[in-house]
């Protein structure tokens, strides 16, 4: 015992892992990891959340020319309860934000998210009052697929990156990587500062910039316009 505690590299915990270890990879967990990750990455069931033209490319990716079935994704899961990957394809307005968030919350762990296209990733050209500036303010995103819209090859490449990510996952670290507080529902994932940073060089709304003296516009504030 005295000898073990004197060993370099942490003493007891490094050696006494046994079969399942105490948070560190062992022979058995690494073999189970391989098996589980192999099964998971080859049977991903996507939840298609298509809102715009990206969805057309997504359909093409699922159709026979590009054939995502080759990667074990032949079943589009239209119920979030049986889905593994959320593919958000297209622009998301603020009115749709709670719907997207609820679908994400309904998906069981483990789950991944692909943000497909410029609009879903950053708001795209729609830097306007009604549009979510990147769905990563609402749900955690694993892979962003750029393009307007991306080619089906782009989506396939993004999903293969998801597969690569699954390959690197481990049972011993999986849940700490994907911890989500279930009490945090219907709340932005990103903090105010992150949202402000994500919304680009112009930062914030015109009103805030105007109040800060950053821009000058002819727009006037009329309080009666705020009638809901």
């Amino acid at each position: 015992m005295g000898l073990e505690s004197n060993l370099p590299g942490g003493g007891v915990s490094a050696r006494s892992g046994g079969l399942f270890g105490s948070g560190s990879p062992t022979f058995l967990t690494s073999k189970i990891d391989f098996l589980v990750n192999w099964a998971r990455r080859n049977s991903l069931w996507p939840m298609p959340f298509g809102t715009a033209c990206c969805a057309i490319e997504m359909m093409a990716a699922f159709a026979s020319d590009f054939d995502l079935s080759r990667f074990g994704m032949e079943r589009m899961s239209f119920s979030p309860r049986q889905a593994d990957v959320l593919i958000c394809a297209g622009r998301v307005p603020y009115k749709l934000a709670p719907v997207l968030r609820r679908i994400w919350d309904q998906m069981p762990q483990p789950k991944w998210c692909v943000s497909m296209g410029a609009c879903a990733s950053s708001g795209g050209v729609f830097d306007v009052y009604s549009m979510v500036q990147g769905i990563d303010t609402i749900v955690p995103v694993d892979v962003y697929v750029p393009g307007c819209p991306p080619r089906p090859e782009g989506l396939i490449y993004g999903l293969m990156m998801i597969q690569e990510k699954i390959r690197e996952e481990s049972l011993t670290k999986h849940y700490e990587l994907r911890t989500e507080d279930p009490s945090i529902v219907a709340r932005p994932r990103a903090s105010d500062e992150e949202v402000a940073a994500l919304s680009g060089p112009f930062g914030n709304s015109t009103r805030q910039n105007k109040l800060a003296g950053a821009v000058e516009t002819e727009a006037t504030d009329r309080p009666r316009d705020r009638r809901p």
Partner: protein, 234 residues
């Protein structure tokens, strides 16, 4: 019958025209009422209530009418046997900015006579109220809700005047007004927070929400009522 801006490629050389140049009255060429039978009849029937008549885009006749009498005049256009504008193609709003009056535009079409007409009502910004035409054309219901949502025009007598495109609790105003900032009045973080706190069930009207909540009274056919031949001898 020609438009003031040159049509075709000539307009490209002139460059963009600022919206303020299009004053609510006088954007098109002044026209002869006799070119359009409905306009002539309208002027004869209502006289002073027809404020202005012009032609744009070649043959599109535009009539400005008194906003206080819009339902009466549009109802006459719909019901008069010589007009019969029984198809309301669109109701929309236009805000030219610069404190100019906001326009409510009715695009109507007479199916029997194959005749179109554009009717405009100019509303001063401090009194954005007008009679609803939903009692005349049912199709005006959602169109007027859209104009209310995006421009803030209140339609008197509308059966269900709620927001239709923006969230029900949208508090930043009416987005298609010229004085509305492009990115909204709140910060992005506040907009995201408000969006995620929406009650999505409010997207539905109360009658829709009641579906599935209240127990449904389903009476299955009893054996005696059903066909004897099929319900026997398992």
């Amino acid at each position: 019958m020609t438009d003031k801006p040159t049509s075709g490629l000539g307009a490209v050389d002139e460059g963009p025209v600022s919206s303020d140049a299009n004053s609510p009255q006088g954007a098109g060429a002044p026209a002869n009422p006799d070119d359009h039978p409905s306009v002539a009849a309208l002027m004869e029937r209502f006289g002073e209530a027809v404020l202005h008549h012009e032609v744009t885009s070649g043959d599109q006749h535009v009539v400005h009418i008194d906003p206080a009498r819009n339902r009466e005049i549009l109802g006459w256009l719909r019901d008069d046997p010589e007009q019969r504008f029984n198809h309301l193609a669109d109701v929309t709003g236009v805000d030219f900015g610069g404190g100019q009056p906001l326009q409510v535009v009715y695009q109507i079409w007479s199916i029997p006579y194959r005749r179109g007409l554009r009717v405009k009502c100019l509303l001063e910004l401090d009194s954005l109220e007008i009679d609803s035409v939903a009692p005349l054309w049912n199709g005006a219901n959602w169109l007027e809700r859209e104009v209310y949502d995006l421009f803030g025009v209140t339609f008197r007598g509308h059966p269900d005047l709620r927001r239709i495109l923006m969230p029900h609790d949208y508090a930043e105003g009416h987005p298609l007004r010229k004085d509305f900032p492009l990115r909204g009045r709140f910060s992005r973080a506040e907009q995201t927070r408000r969006a995620l706190n929406q009650d999505v069930e409010r997207f539905y009207i109360p009658e829709e929400r009641a579906i599935g909540r209240e127990p449904q009274d389903v009476t299955l056919p009893t054996g005696s009522e059903s066909d004897e031949g099929s319900a026997s001898d398992g």
